[in-house]
């Protein structure tokens, strides 16, 4: 298994290089740094001097791939490709447009992002699986039918409405919790309750339906009939047999997102003014801070690959038939 994991980790390298090249093409080849400078400075004020100053400030004044004016290895390292793209592999993201170090900013903002995302993930998973099991237990009854209708209705509502509606109802009308903001330590709880509750609610419709389909597929298999035939109660069948055997499809969808929890939720963090990575990303997009967006793309894809490897490991843990070789 160790050899397998090493191989998988090595396989991640070409993918990361691909991501890196793709972002490089998107950010530097589709538009030259001159184009970006002209837009950032403002088309009206875009004098050649202003553009040049913008480029020098951000280090975009270098050649793309090869610097003939430099000497030695600096011919390759003193280029846009090396300084802006390749340096990311060493987690050196440079600084944002406001001059702050991106890597440090990311480290500081991971905490608040996780404080929202982790409870949301766990509560959402728990709520969705238990409700799906409930619907499967009452399958082909009115409860099941209306449960599914409710799920479809809930997933037809944009998450924006959940957030806006929740903020209005709970914070404004009932004044139960502050409308937005963040504090450190235990004090954060009162800021976190509402965003977590809203995120769970917004996601529960589609996930209940998804788990219900998985369980229903599992419940029509022969071993379930055998389990019932030997006299097990329906509850025992559901929890001991169906839930256990449905773990593989559940893990396939779930484990891959665990590392991405660090990235935070764009919408929730931005609406509730939580200083996490999600709001950092949104601010960067709105301010067109390309360096931050590039850094987040790199980290996101790295975490995705970690998620894929974790998924493989989790298969081994829940299913003795799976061996990684």
């Amino acid at each position: 298994m160790f050899a397998y994991l090493v191989r998988r980790a090595l396989y991640a390298i070409p993918i990361l290089i691909g991501v890196n090249l793709l972002t490089f093409v998107l950010f530097f080849v589709v538009n030259s740094p001159d184009d970006m400078a002209r837009m950032q400075v403002g088309v009206k004020r875009a004098t050649p001097e202003a553009i040049e100053r913008w480029k020098v400030e951000r280090g975009y004044d270098k050649p793309m791939f090869y610097n003939p004016t430099a000497s030695g290895s600096a011919r390759v390292t003193d280029t846009i490709f090396f300084s802006k793209s390749l340096r990311m592999f060493a987690f050196d993201f440079g600084s944002a447009d406001d001059g702050r170090d991106i890597a440090r900013e990311i480290r500081e903002r991971m905490g608040p992002s996780l404080a929202i995302a982790l409870p949301t993930f766990l509560l959402g998973l728990y709520a969705a699986i238990s409700m799906a099991l409930l619907l499967v237990f009452f399958r082909a009854t009115y409860l099941d039918f209306w449960g599914v209708v409710g799920c479809v209705a809930m997933m037809s509502i944009s998450s924006l409405f959940y957030i806006i509606g929740g903020q209005w109802l709970v914070s404004k009308l009932w004044s139960l919790v502050p409308i937005s903001g963040y504090a450190s330590g235990l004090d954060a709880t009162r800021f976190l309750v509402l965003p977590v509750a809203i995120s769970v609610l917004a996601g529960v419709g589609s996930s209940v339906r998804w788990y219900r389909t998985i369980f229903l597929e599992e419940i029509s298999k022969d071993y379930v009939r055998t389990a019932r035939a030997k006299g097990l109660s329906e509850l025992r069948v559901l929890f001991r047999h169906v839930l256990k055997n449905a773990m593989i499809p559940i893990l396939t969808g779930v484990v891959v997102v665990i590392p991405l929890l660090f990235m935070g939720s764009l919408l929730v963090e931005s609406f509730f003014a939580i200083p996490g990575l999600g709001s950092y990303t949104i601010d960067a997009i709105n301010a067109q801070d390309f360096a931050v967006v590039r850094a987040m793309v790199f980290i996101g894809s790295l975490l995705y690959i970690v998620g894929l490897i974790l998924t493989d490991i989790s298969y081994v843990l829940v299913d003795p038939r799976v061996r990684l070789e």
């Binding site: 691909g18 991501v19 998107l26 479809v152 209705a153 037809s156 806006i164 919408l267 793309v297």
Partner: protein
């Protein structure tokens, strides 16, 4: 002398009508292919599916009307104003067209489009929502709620007369709706009589009890609701702002109806542009295997590895730079915002084809081992012929299911992306831009809730109908769900 208008075909218009044409051709193909006809009949038998299809049909009608674009001709200017370019052109006898691009829907909704107020007003209001200082008739100043220019302007004493007026108009709308519904009912009965070979006296009760082969009762019930709403709007909207007005005084109902096209474009064109890639690469990877499979898998793992929003953000930011630095490409503002809409469809397509490609690859992998494909290979059929004749038709149900399943997700994504600032052009009317603008209004006292309510109602109806329809289509076409 030119025409009184100049037709404008935006890129998304062309693609929408191309899609309509493709649907027409597909329908002809379905009619002549027994298994496909059976599967669609299964869809037709489900009341939820037919009700959802009726609602979707209404949205599509609005969207298509809004896709017939033109530029109205400007009135000829007097020769004295020869300093302007348009006057110079007019002297040469050439027609001059407005730079504003309108659509057939704009013509139908002319009263809603043109009757703008000064600023916010509540649904059915006769005054603005804010007090304003005006000169009192006897001198001095007064703080009053000024009357609206158009909303309830026909009433002398709106306070007293409004209730009765609205009721009366609604009543006449009900009459209109009933008449239109009766026609639809007769057409439905006639269809049942013809297709099921029943006598008229038998067909009517069968239809009313929901015992027809196709779920006509669900269609007629949905149609009744739609007709009542539609005719109520048609009679009330010229005299009242049914959903109020927004910050610059535009009718919110008009904005909501205009948003429908944007949602439909995002929901359908995206899948349309990504489908050829997904189908070609997915099938090739699954059937050919080897290095092709490796290459395709590599590409989609790389694309999947980048979080969707970030990839979209990066691409949209870059595309906006291209659009901003090349203003000479676009004649009108409408063409520029259309370019951004189309580009957004492409970007969403590029980020979302991987899911479909993976499904198709898996299916092609299974199909290549089946006997009939092996037999075709043994007979010496070329790879291209096998892919076209044997593999492609047998994966089309997956493509169809993906097309309908993706629609609702894309409509919802548009709203979120527009909120993040990487959606449609801010001048394009869409649910996302509506919600985005309404967000700031919630903080006002008293609250401006109507734009948000209108966006919610329209989006919920559209997405719910799309979700229900997608479920029914999947049940009918997925062989694993029988």
């Amino acid at each position: 002398m030119g025409m009184s208008f100049q037709p404008v075909i935006l890129w998304t218009d062309a693609l929408l009508f191309l899609l309509l044409l493709a649907c027409g051709l597909a329908a002809l193909h379905v009619r002549s292919t027994e298994p496909l006809r059976d599967a669609w009949r299964k869809v037709g038998r489900r009341p939820t599916g037919m009700a959802a299809a009726t609602v979707l049909g209404a949205f599509v009608l609005v969207g298509l009307l809004d896709s017939l674009h033109y530029r109205p001709r400007l009135p000829e200017l007097p020769a004295a104003a020869d300093a302007s370019i348009s006057a110079a052109a007019a002297r040469k006898g050439e027609a001059v067209y407005s730079s504003e691009v309108l659509s057939a829907l704009d013509v139908l909704l002319a009263p809603l489009r043109l009757q703008t107020e000064k600023t916010y007003s509540a649904p059915f209001a006769f005054t603005l929502y804010q007090r304003e200082t005006v000169q009192a008739p006897g001198g001095g100043q007064q703080r009053i709620y000024p009357r609206l220019v158009h909303g309830a302007a026909h009433l002398g004493d709106p306070e007293a007369a409004r209730g009765g007026d609205v009721a009366l108009r609604t009543l006449s709308a009900l009459g209109m709706a009933a008449a239109a519904w009766a026609v639809a009912f007769l057409i439905a009965v006639w269809r049942v009589v013809r297709s099921e070979r029943l006598a008229w006296g038998v067909a009517v009760p069968a239809l009313l009890r929901g015992r027809t082969v196709l779920a006509w009762r669900a269609v007629l019930a949905t149609l009744a609701v739609l007709l009542v709403i539609g005719s109520a709007w048609a009679t009330l909207a010229p005299h009242y702002h049914v959903f109020g007005t927004d910050k610059v005084g535009q009718d919110v109902l008009y904005l909501a109806l205009k948003s429908v096209r944007t949602a439909l474009v995002i929901g359908t064109i995206t899948t349309l542009v990504m489908m050829p890639f997904a189908v070609a690469l997915g099938i090739a990877a699954g059937y050919l295997g080897g290095w092709v499979d490796d290459a395709v898998q590599y590409v989609y793992t790389v694309l999947n590895a980048i979080p969707g929003v970030l990839l979209i953000a990066a691409a949209v930011l870059m595309m906006q730079v291209v659009i901003d630095t090349h203003p000479q490409w676009f004649d009108t503002a409408a063409q520029r915002s259309d370019a951004r809409l189309l580009a957004l469809c492409f970007i969403l397509g590029i980020t979302s084809w991987t899911g479909l490609a993976r499904l198709l690859r898996g299916e092609a992998l299974k199909l290549r081992e089946l006997e009939y494909v092996q037999a075709a290979r043994a007979f010496g059929a070329s790879t291209a012929a096998i892919l076209r004749r044997h593999i492609l038709p047998n994966v089309m149900h997956i493509v169809l299911i993906a097309l309908v399943m993706d629609f609702s997700g894309l409509v919802l994504a548009e709203a979120v992306l527009s909120y993040v600032g990487i959606g449609v052009d801010p001048t394009t009317i869409s649910f996302g831009t509506m919600i985005n603008m309404a967000r700031a209004e919630l903080a006002r006292e008293p609250m401006v809730w109507w734009s948000l309510a209108a966006a919610f109602v329209f989006m919920f109806a559209l997405v719910l109908a799309a979700n229900l329809f997608a479920d029914v289509v999947r049940d009918a076409f997925d062989p694993r769900r029988s």
